[in-house]
């Protein structure tokens, strides 16, 4: 019980630090892709930049527009942040550690329906953006909120369909069960290449990242749903976006890249604790690669138009998802009967 509490606290701190340093990483990656230097004033290589940004956020005036709905204006960023942080609980970050005779499971909770829990949290997260955008009483914020809602509801379908095929293979909805299946039968990317592609595209849309960042598209909507937000409330929205990016990278690694599995590690005969720590390191390496991938895409691919986004979601990804389910079912039937 205490071990789980400590683990969750550590996870909380790690999630927040990764989110904070993703803002620094994003600016460095952008600078690298655009042949610039990027932030280098605060500390060596600008390493203290997130702290400076955070301090700036806290010090700014917390302003509520005159005709805004005050309660919902307060509630919006809170929902966005809380749901983003809650998702990490069910992700298996590693195997088990044995410290002083107690076994610590490096997963906050392992419910039978792990992947559905992730979906549930994502779907509640939409309210953070919708309520915040609506409560601002600003046309641009409202448009951003409406875009976010329709985009996230549409892409949840494609994401769900891509997961169905994976669940058909693994026979479980539990995230640790899916990792165990991959350890025994090879990584998900090999068996579900199309499913992985669909999931990846939908993950970009669900986290409102470029090329699907229409809800906060600055060329059309000023700042989108967070136009009217200032100070740490704006900070919470930005933080929630980076936290979501971290969590979806972790979910992609777990579902399609074996999670904490390192091929060939079990045959080396290492101490279980050392193996578990290497597993955690592998999990974080995979996750960080996908965070980098998110940034890489953002600074390389131009933004879609909103009707193109809807066409892609409903007319391409959903039929492809159904095709993937049929293919998976057919192949499964042919080879396992």
């Amino acid at each position: 019980m205490i071990a789980t509490a400590i683990f969750l606290l550590v996870l909380f701190v790690i999630t927040l630090s990764v989110a904070a340093y993703s803002t620094y990483g994003e600016r460095k990656v952008a600078a690298f892709l655009q042949d610039r230097i990027g932030p280098n004033r605060a500390g060596p290589f600008g390493i203290l930049q997130p702290l400076a940004d955070g301090t700036k956020m806290f010090m700014k005036e917390d302003f509520v527009p005159l005709h805004a709905n005050k309660k919902l204006f307060l509630l919006g960023p809170a929902i966005a942040m809380v749901t983003a942080l809650l998702t990490g609980v069910v992700i298996p970050w590693g195997g088990t550690l044995t410290v002083f005779g107690t076994t610590i499971n490096l997963q906050g909770a392992d419910p039978e329906i792990g992947i559905l829990y992730v979906f549930a949290m994502v779907s509640i997260g939409v309210y953070g953006i919708m309520l915040g955008g609506w409560a601002s009483n600003n046309k641009f914020a409202l448009l951003g909120a409406v875009r976010a809602a329709s985009q996230m509801v549409s892409y949840e379908l494609g994401m769900g369909l891509s997961i169905v095929a994976l669940v058909m293979l693994t026979g479980t909805l539990s995230l640790s069960g899916i990792v165990d299946y991959q350890i025994a039968h090879g990584w998900g990317i090999i068996q579900q290449p199309l499913g992985f592609l669909l999931f990846l595209v939908c993950a970009f849309a669900e986290t409102n990242r470029a090329p699907f960042d229409m809800p906060e598209c600055e060329t059309e909507l000023v700042g989108g749903y967070h136009t009217e937000f200032s100070s740490m409330r704006l900070g919470f929205y930005l933080f929630a976006e980076y936290t979501n990016m971290f969590i979806s990278s972790a979910v992609i690694s777990t579902l399609y890249f074996g999670g904490y599995h390192v091929p060939g590690l079990a045959s080396l005969g290492l101490d279980p604790n050392v193996a578990a720590i290497i597993g955690v390191a592998a999990m974080f390496a995979k996750t960080f690669f996908f965070i980098f991938f998110f940034m890489w895409v953002r600074w390389s691919v131009p933004r879609f138009r909103f009707d193109q986004l809807m066409n892609l979601g409903w007319k391409k990804l959903i039929p492809l998802g159904i095709l993937n389910i049929l293919l998976t079912g057919g192949i499964h039937y042919l080879f396992n009967h």
């Binding site: 709905n69 919902l72 549930a120 779907s123 909805l173």
Partner: protein, 176 residues
């Protein structure tokens, strides 16, 4: 556990009352979302994890978002109350009171409800839900999927733009 039950029960009842009594539609919708979340909590207490998560994803995450979507697009943020005549109000109070009386009479003797079957904690897990859906209730399940499919096709048909044929003289035909 019992404390959690009372907590969720209180949240469900209070938020349901707010849904019907709130003047502003947006507050009603938010109260309904809270109500659905507390009902998902009840499912969790019954160990029906699958049902709880699907409930949150479908009702809270999709249907209520669409409700909110419509309210935002129509900009129904004014607290409005439709005008009701005295006659309607009296009739509503009478009908509601009579309904309440009937309900009370019906459950008066059944207060000591004992469960007909022993509670099975595995009943709401994915495995048992899947088995009962695809074995015991296969036909109703498939028939309802066909119903959903027909609803989808119907919506697509209604939403499709009618092709307006413009005659060569360039005058648009008036819609019949």
């Amino acid at each position: 556990m019992l404390a959690f039950f009372y907590l969720f029960a209180a949240i469900s009842v209070i938020s349901a009352l707010i849904v019907v009594s709130a003047r502003s539609p947006i507050n009603s919708v938010i109260a309904l979302v809270v109500c659905f979340l507390s009902i998902a909590g009840h499912y969790i207490l019954l160990n029906a994890q699958f049902l709880a998560m699907v409930h949150i994803i479908v009702y809270t995450g999709a249907i209520m978002v669409l409700f909110l979507f419509v309210i935002m697009l129509l900009n129904l943020n004014k607290a409005t109350e439709p005008m009701k005549t005295l006659g309607t109000r009296v009739a509503a109070v009478l009908a509601g009171g009579l309904f309440f009386l009937t309900l009370m009479a019906a459950i008066r003797h059944g207060i000591n409800i004992t469960p007909a079957n022993e509670f099975d904690p595995g009943v709401g897990l994915v495995r048992s839900v899947g088995l009962s859906l695809f074995k015991e209730f296969l036909l109703p399940f498939e028939v309802s999927s066909v119903l959903f499919l027909s609803a989808m096709v119907g919506v697509v048909m209604l939403a499709k733009k009618e092709k307006v044929v413009v005659p060569k003289d360039g005058v648009e035909p008036s819609k019949a």
